[in-house]
Symmetry: C2
Subunit: 218 residues, 2 copies
Amino acid sequence: MKIKVVKDILSANEQIAQRNRQLFDGNKVFAVNLMSSPGAGKTSLILQTIKRLKGKTRVGVVEGDISSSLDAEAISKEGVPVVQINTGGECHLDANMTSTALPSLPLADIELLLIENVGNLVCPAEFALGEHKKVLISSTPEGDDKPFKYPLMFHLVDAVLINKIDLLPYLKFDTDAFSQAIKGINKGAEIFPISCATGQGIEKWVSWLLTQMNQRQS
Amino acid sequence: MKIKVVKDILSANEQIAQRNRQLFDGNKVFAVNLMSSPGAGKTSLILQTIKRLKGKTRVGVVEGDISSSLDAEAISKEGVPVVQINTGGECHLDANMTSTALPSLPLADIELLLIENVGNLVCPAEFALGEHKKVLISSTPEGDDKPFKYPLMFHLVDAVLINKIDLLPYLKFDTDAFSQAIKGINKGAEIFPISCATGQGIEKWVSWLLTQMNQRQS
């Protein structure tokens, strides 16, 4: 009985996600669902990505949080359109919340839509939003055992960003072992070691992102 | 309709949590529910706590993870009784999972039971397990804005451990601002800055824990 309810929710979510995707495609918007643990660096990555793309690609942002609008405020300072979703306790975004937020964005003027999910390595993996790509930010202080503990998340994503590599000298974190663990769960995942604090590796990530976007739109 | 289902689940959980509590009290077990983001240091804290209490207090551990038994293996090396719960996708422990695990532990021989919840700042806050105290481990690399983003978790707990203070020189983290934000949400919360890597602050935490335990049992 319980499983049936969950299935119904997931399939209703899937239908709305498909409608979101049609809306994105109709407006030539490339949408990316950014997921991570709390504090792994989603907002910092969005800020870095906006800076690199300034004058090149029109970016829009959806900010998902349980409460507060701290992240949306930080992003609006960069002069890009942003809408905040407060989930009111829910531990993830879903397609319907996303759909409700989209009319607040000038989709016709946006080429790349970065959707920041709620900080959580579990629930967001189960809910499609209509995005073209799913990206996970994993940060070095979280430890290199995370792929074994949150396998669904690592399995589902198109790319894993290893953030906070500037802290590597002060941590026990084996980047090779971590990358191998990811590849064991998800052979096709792209892996980008980055530091949002120093900017290291951001260029490669942005270049990959633009390639994905251009492949989609051509 | 959806809200009703959630309420029913929560109230069924509450009933089982009360039965767990009776079992703990009947066996003079002091139970602590340890919660945090992924990789904030729950297992490291348990290992540090076991080491400090060796020969003084008989400790037992319940390990909650979505999958894998890495943490339980690390803890069993310390020679304390440990049982692993794999939630099979669920993003939190609940009272029933805990209840199912308890017969695997020699409760009559345990004075302090440390229950490591799934790494998640959202869902675990909603499910009582029958514990006497709820403790949150927040780590400095996650950033000092977390109380605003996960208010329910910070509101509910009896103590907040600020872990990884050894990394403070390399981070933008304002310990005073963080502590004030916690106090704004939860006046009575005890706050302990610690480092599981260096051992700093662990003594104070263990001393508080023993005081709580002794007050309960006297």
